[in-house]
Assembly symmetry: C2
Homo-oligomer: 162 residues x 2
């Protein structure tokens, strides 16, 4: 055992060899996924001080931009399945950030709104998010941001189109 | 119960209201995620006839482009955790698509290669993948593809740089 351990210590560090990405090097699908994984990990870190996950942040932003929005419209717009969305709202409501009320015009539908605390947390989150977006924009180069936003919008298939 | 069922049938279809994406509408991070989710779902469908998941496809492409690549270099290049990568290789090997052999120069490291069947499946997968990439390129507009690939590469943080 002592010999094995010593042999391990004496091992030269393994040299990393450059890998050819082949047909993936210019694959938009592959680059999208890699870019998304890299930037999403950063967003998780960015929002961690507020104990918000990216999906929770998106929900707060959209409720903020659409006061009294119908619950079903919001889950459709964000592509979140109904049971997951209900669980998310339960958590946000337990933390005092959002509230649901039954629509007067359509009793089948809940309307969503931010509480005062929800607005306060959203304001802070938007500041952190803005710094995160600026950091991404810097890496993309000065002219990249608007062009990429335009092109990504075509792929993103946002629903419904506002 | 009969009354409740009839009442359900008579309900007008719920009208979908356009939702304002607010600060997310121009967020590169949000658009990247949405674009990635949309295109990834398409890639899963594209490769389904070959019973390949996107990650398995990436592994075949990279082994094809790097004959006898070290297992550890490949998992690092694709950002796949070691235990997950071992399970993937077990499955690809059981299907007769890839093989591992111990490197003559470094016995700590497995070298990976495609079998003849692996090359055949990869060739077919690359044809399907090429059609998928062309479909994405069409939606992005004629001039979008190279520009977006360039910008995404800066965000994607590919490792190691070939």
């Amino acid at each position: 055992m002592a010999k094995a351990a010593r042999s391990k210590l004496n091992e030269a560090p393994r040299k990393m060899t450059a890998v050819d990405y082949g047909d993936l090097a210019n694959s938009v699908g592959f680059l999208l996924r890699r870019a998304q994984l890299a930037t999403f990990a950063e967003l998780i870190e960015t929002l961690a001080p507020l104990k918000l996950r990216p999906a929770q942040f998106s929900v707060l932003v959209l409720i903020g931009a659409n006061p009294d929005v119908a619950q079903s419209d919001l889950s459709a717009a964000l592509g979140i399945q109904r049971p997951n969305f209900v669980a998310m709202l339960d958590e946000l409501e337990a933390r005092g950030l959002t509230r649901r009320c039954v629509s007067a015009s359509d009793r089948r539908s809940n309307q969503l709104a931010l509480t005062a605390e929800g607005r306060r947390v959203l304001k802070r989150a938007l500041e952190l998010h803005s710094a995160y977006e600026n950091s991404i924009a810097r890496r993309m180069g000065t002219n990249g941001r608007e062009e990429i936003a335009r092109v990504l919008s075509k792929l993103a298939d946002l629903n419904p189109v506002a």
